[in-house]
Amino acid sequence: MTDMPRKNFWSGLGVAALAVMLLTWIIPTYGGSGFAFGMQPQRLATLGAWLILGCSIVLTVVSAIALKRRGESIVATPDLGHLWHQAWPFLYVLGFIVLIDRFPLTWVAPLLIGGLLLLLGERRWYVVVLTAAIPTAGLYGLTAHLMRIGVV
């Protein structure tokens, strides 16, 4: 049995909530205003949001009906291990974005690449060192060249 109707149900619900937020708060507040001969500044974004809302509501309802007919529950407790496995790469990259904000990327790059290799199970030191060093050296060379020609 596939998990698609449940995925569709929750994604539809999430997208519908986003569309409602867009229509009731974000577009009216931040969508811009002013006199226009043609279309109002908010018009196209509003049409897009209505399109999203309509499609996501239909998707949610159809998926809910499919789940009900199959006798499956709408809620399924996610496996925490699986969730963690999906989430850690995002946290890893976010952590390095914070570091890049404070230190030059050429300093941070070996840690970013080497750390990820170690986390993914690479234990051969020469592979870790070479994989971390070659792209970093490439970036260093490119940055030096761009500075020399006055681009950055």
Binding site: M4, K7, N8, S11, V15, A19, L22, I26, I27, Y30, G31, G32, S33, G34, F35, A36, F37, G38, M39, P41, Q42, L44, A45, G48, L51, I52, C55, S56, L59, V62, A66, R69, R70, H85, Q86, P89, F90, V93, L94, F96, I97, I100, D101, L105, A109, L112, I113, L116, L117, L120, G121, E122, T131, P135, L139, L142, T143, L146, V151, V152
Partner: protein, 506 residues
Amino acid sequence: MIGFDAILNSFAAALHYESIAIILGGVLLGYIVGVIPGLNRAVAIAIAIPLTFYMSAYAAIAFLIGLSKGTAAGSAVSAILLNTPGEPSSAATCLDGYPMASSGKPRKALKVGLLASVIGDLLATLLLIAVAIPFASVALKFGPYELAAILIFALVFIAGMAGGSFLKGLAAGGMGVILGTVGLDPETGAMRLTFGFAELMEGVPILPLVIGTLALAEMFVQLDEYRRNKDASVIKLGKNADDDLSYQEFKGTLPTIFKSTGVGAFVGALPGLGPSVGAFMAYGLAKRSAKDPDSFGKGNPNGIAAAEASDNAVIPASYIPLFGLGIPGSVSAALLVGAFMIHGIQVGPLMLRDHPEMLFTLFSGMIVASLLMLAVGWYGLRIFARVTSVPPHIVISVVIFLCLAGIQVQGYGTFGLVTVFVFAIFGYFLKKFDYSFVTFLVAFIVTPMLEMNLRQSVILSGGEFSILLERPIALAFVVFTVLMVLHLGWTSYRRWMQARHKAKQV
């Protein structure tokens, strides 16, 4: 209109050694990327766009087109030797490529794939040149009504044809439209959805958007899949004389290559269908029309030829709506539009009027790229066979670094890094929940053009819809759009009813 001398000059420019070197670089890089499983064309183009910032417009686009073509041909190598397609569109190549390679004929399988790729690509490029120019000449006569109607039709068509659910496709298109309106309103100068960030005044920057949604999100998906599929065995190339492709064997695949190129070119010219559909359609056709259909799936060279010729024919053909009408029909075409935008060129029929030399030089460059593909693939066979052994964890780590470096080198700073991260989450969501990425990206790219044409139409017509009756082409596209929505809605409903019926029987 451009003269014959100018066309000759365009060819001469494409054959200049600098131009050849740039295209060769693109094809070579594309080939390597295509060979590595998990790295696809879109990821390669997204990462390569920052490299092209400091090139001339022609060099940048020629490099990216070479890259795009190289990935399509290179992806067959991993499909044949590893049974893992470098691109989803090479999945059909696995069906006969891997069994043929397993039976001790890996070189033969690779050469059939390469020759089919090159012929398919070259013929589709010639078709593009023949069709796009008359197409663009007609499109230049269109006004805002026609263009707005065609763009809306194209978006609905792509949402319906890009695979998966039509509803999710339309919703993804809506997201693209909203993001496409971010920035200063061209008529009133009002700031739209910028939230006070000056960086958003010219719209959402395209580079962080494509790197985040395509490359970084793809790496997060790859990381998720990495733990499930760590081990794969590669077939090594031997020196067996039986493993060489003879002229007779190649000749036997030619009818299949020509038919499959036709299928690929047709599929490519329709926005949204993509190379996977083309490859499987051509494979199915080759199997049905074969005298020995049972041999398909067991190492029939015609199976490889069909899949590869069609897969490679889709790419140039997908540029027909791009150069003819300004509508990107695929992710790689949409990325090319982004690259054109970065270099200040509006791609589409206006190119024929404003930059005809560049258009013809690009077309010439495409033919050069097809020929270079043959040379690179033929002489680099053994090297590329070795590249398939690069472990995925090395690829993922380096690509994540390249994503962040690409943003940093372009000077987007912290804002760019945060934007790329936000779009990576967004892209991951699109991929995991199967929302059509191509519809999202195409909608994002064409929204400024759509808005401008809609706005002009509203001003010119004074809000009167009856004006459409005087514009038959625009009216026809409005009718096509309505029919398309009804047809896709009806098809989805029937599919849903069939699934319900099946579930009841079980």
